[in-house]
């Protein structure tokens, strides 16, 4: 299950909503609201737009913060609890900030057989971040370990932001990918 673990504060546990990190943004843009309404009208039931709307909210907020969930609930006229439940179920909705370039490294079986575990460690060391941890100090990089990306035949696979996986990734290719990020060749994580 993909529930975010409460931060290790040693204080009293927080209410579920309070555990979630906040974003500076609080509202969806008018364009995003219009996009969500257009999507909702395509389905037999408006609730079906929950997943697409959360994708849009993530694009705007940078991650799915509590405010993002509330904004989606308001836009679709759904109970907030429903949207919290959905947002915390799926791993692609980041519940805390990620870097401008978010690397997802598959370490599942086929990738593991092809050296994904050392690759992940090298990438983390190179970017100075921890897998699954907060983004680097300049907000540029973050790394996450993920399950199978359906690129097992070209393992190990790494995905940057929303783009095509890079395949048969080795150390040299990691450098190329980082350089491509610096040139801005990948689609931005959020905009």
């Amino acid at each position: 299950m993909s529930h975010p673990l409460p931060p290790d504060t040693g204080e009293l546990p927080l209410a579920p909503g309070q555990r979630l990190l906040e974003s500076s943004r609080k509202e969806l843009s008018p364009e995003a609201l219009a996009e969500i309404q257009a999507i909702a009208s395509r389905y037999p039931d408006r609730m079906a737009a929950t997943l697409p709307a959360l994708h849009i909210a993530q694009r705007e907020f940078g991650f799915v913060s509590l405010a993002a969930m509330k904004a989606v609930a308001k836009a679709l006229g759904l109970p907030e609890g429903h949207v919290f439940g959905v947002a915390t179920f799926y791993t692609m909705y980041q519940k805390k900030p990620v870097g401008q370039y978010h690397f997802q490294v598959c370490t599942n079986i086929s990738c593991a057989l092809n050296g994904a575990a050392p690759l992940l460690q090298k990438l983390c060391a190179r970017l100075g971040v921890e897998a699954g941890g907060p983004p680097s100090a300049d907000g540029k990089w973050s790394v996450e370990e993920v399950e199978c990306l359906a690129g097992c035949g070209t393992a190990p696979c790494v995905q940057v932001n929303h783009d095509v996986y890079d395949e048969f990734v080795d150390e040299k290719m990691l450098e190329e990918m980082i350089a491509a990020c610096q040139r801005g060749e990948y689609r931005p994580w959020a905009h």
């Binding site: 079906a48 399950e147 097992c152 393992a155």
Partner: protein, 456 residues
């Protein structure tokens, strides 16, 4: 137009003899060529939309009969005959009119499986054609393609192909003058393996948490949005196009009795030329590994092969000659599953491999049923203890006692799926587990499979 991928993927699609009469190419036409996807190419080079034109002139029930004659079994995992599944859909009666939905399962989450993306990448129109035929056969009003969230670029490509099909009048209102209306919507998931299970997929499509539903009611009675629905895998639906084009009987001549046709095998792991290969059902496993995928890397021997995606019990050397069809693989104690063949060489540590697989299931369990939620976590913890050199010999009995208490006692097959690799590893490679426990070290020489800092 949406951004279309400009970089070819580096999978291998072919092997000597592919495309000949012995190894017909029905599913991977033009694979590897980025310019293969438009409708023009599909119609001019690959006999595109001929099957659909034929089907739309037939009575819907005759189309279902044709698919039954072909004998095709679902390519998503369970191998259920597609024609039979379609015939479960209720028909309109004078008293009652139904809204029926067709759902294509493009979740492709099973580790070791990477075939559906190839169809959507290079032959999106073949999937669309298959869905129009299936939609006509069951008289559906709307089709959905549930695609895993990571496949953003494939969704864009499918959207572009769908628009081409709409422009050509293959989708929309009054398709080719039949008076029948049908359209296809893309729906993007958000990263949950369990959403590949058909009822979890329906919940996810409806905008809920992807938790499997209790069956019955089966989707054909109460599926998406409470209406009768049929869920099929991408490969199953795409295969319907050649079936209608060449006729069910001709298709049934391929492969073996009760296991007809061709399917796409994806070979990954320690092989020289990993890739996707379309082969008639019943092709022996060692042919796939040695002839198609170029054999095990570095001249080593294979130690274990998972024949159909990570949920299937492992094979050891005595089963490497297994004919790869649903029934033969089942008779050898595994499953043909989704066609993902994962090869592990002799230097692989089975304890680590099993731990990695179980960690996946523990992470992806939706948490609804206690045996699966708790059981997978327990298996992971016990295996982690063994891997860390702190195992006890009793742990092996504990693991052996745990699996029968998970398998077949859960709401959906994910619990059973986790037991498959666990039980088979313990049965076939028990000495490795024992060595780990008694010596605190590993028999295998290969590099480690586990990332220390876990994100889970």
């Amino acid at each position: 137009m949406a951004a279309i991928r400009t970089k070819p993927d580096r999978h291998l699609y072919t092997f000597p003899g592919f495309g000949s009469e012995k190894f017909p190419n029905l599913m991977l036409r033009g694979a590897g060529d980025l310019d293969n996807w438009p409708r023009r190419v599909y119609e001019q080079k690959h006999e595109g939309y001929l099957g659909m034109r034929k089907a739309l002139k037939m009575d819907p029930s005759a189309v279902i009969e044709e698919v039954k004659t072909s004998g095709i079994r679902g390519r998503g995992g369970a191998g259920f005959p597609a024609g039979l599944k379609w015939s479960f859909m209720p028909k309109d009666t004078p008293e009652r009119k139904f809204t029926r939905y067709l759902v294509c399962n493009a979740d492709e989450g099973e580790p070791g499986t990477f075939k559906d993306r190839v169809i959507m990448e290079y032959n999106p129109h073949q999937l669309i054609e298959g869905m129009v035929i299936a939609g006509w056969a069951m008289q559906c009003q709307l089709g959905f393609v549930y695609v895993r969230g990571e496949f953003l670029w494939l969704i864009e490509k499918m959207e572009a192909a769908l628009q081409e099909a709409r422009d050509a009048g293959y989708l929309g209102k009054d398709i080719l003058g039949t008076g029948w209306n049908f359209d296809i919507l893309m729906h993007r998931g958000a990263g949950a393996y369990i959403c590949g299970e058909e009822t979890a997929l329906l919940n996810s499509l409806e905008g809920r948490r992807g938790e499997p539903r209790v069956k019955p009611p089966f989707p054909a009675a109460k599926g998406a949005f409470g209406q009768p629905s049929t869920i099929n895998n991408v490969e199953t639906l795409a295969a319907v196009a050649p079936i209608l084009r060449m006729g069910g009987a001709a298709y049934a001549n391929l492969g073996r009795p009760k296991n007809t046709g061709t399917r796409i095998f994806g070979v990954s792991g320690h092989v020289n030329r990993p890739g996707v290969f379309e082969l008639p059902l019943g092709t022996p496993l060692d042919f796939i590994v040695n002839e198609c995928a170029g054999g095990v890397r570095g001249g080593k021997k294979a130690k274990a092969i998972i024949p159909g995606g990570s949920s299937c019990p492992m094979f050891d050397a005595k089963d490497f000659d297994c004919p790869m069809d649903f029934d033969s693989v089942r008779d050898r104690g595994s499953m043909a599953g989704s066609g993902g063949v994962i090869v592990m060489d002799e230097d692989t540590c089975i304890v680590q491999a099993t731990l990695r697989l179980i960690r996946f299931y523990a992470h992806e369990s939706c948490g609804q049923c206690t045996p699966c939620r708790e059981g997978c976590n327990w298996m992971q913890m016990i295996l982690q203890r063994i891997e860390d050199g702190q195992g006890r010999l009793e742990d092996l009995d504990l693991l052996a006692q745990l699996t029968p208490r998970i398998g077949l006692r859960t709401l959906c097959p994910l619990g059973d799926a986790a037991c498959g690799p666990m039980e088979s590893a313990l049965k076939k490679f028990r000495d490795e587990f024992e060595h780990h426990i008694t010596h605190g070290t590993c028999l295998a020489k290969g590099p480690g499979l586990l990332a220390r800092a876990s994100a889970h």
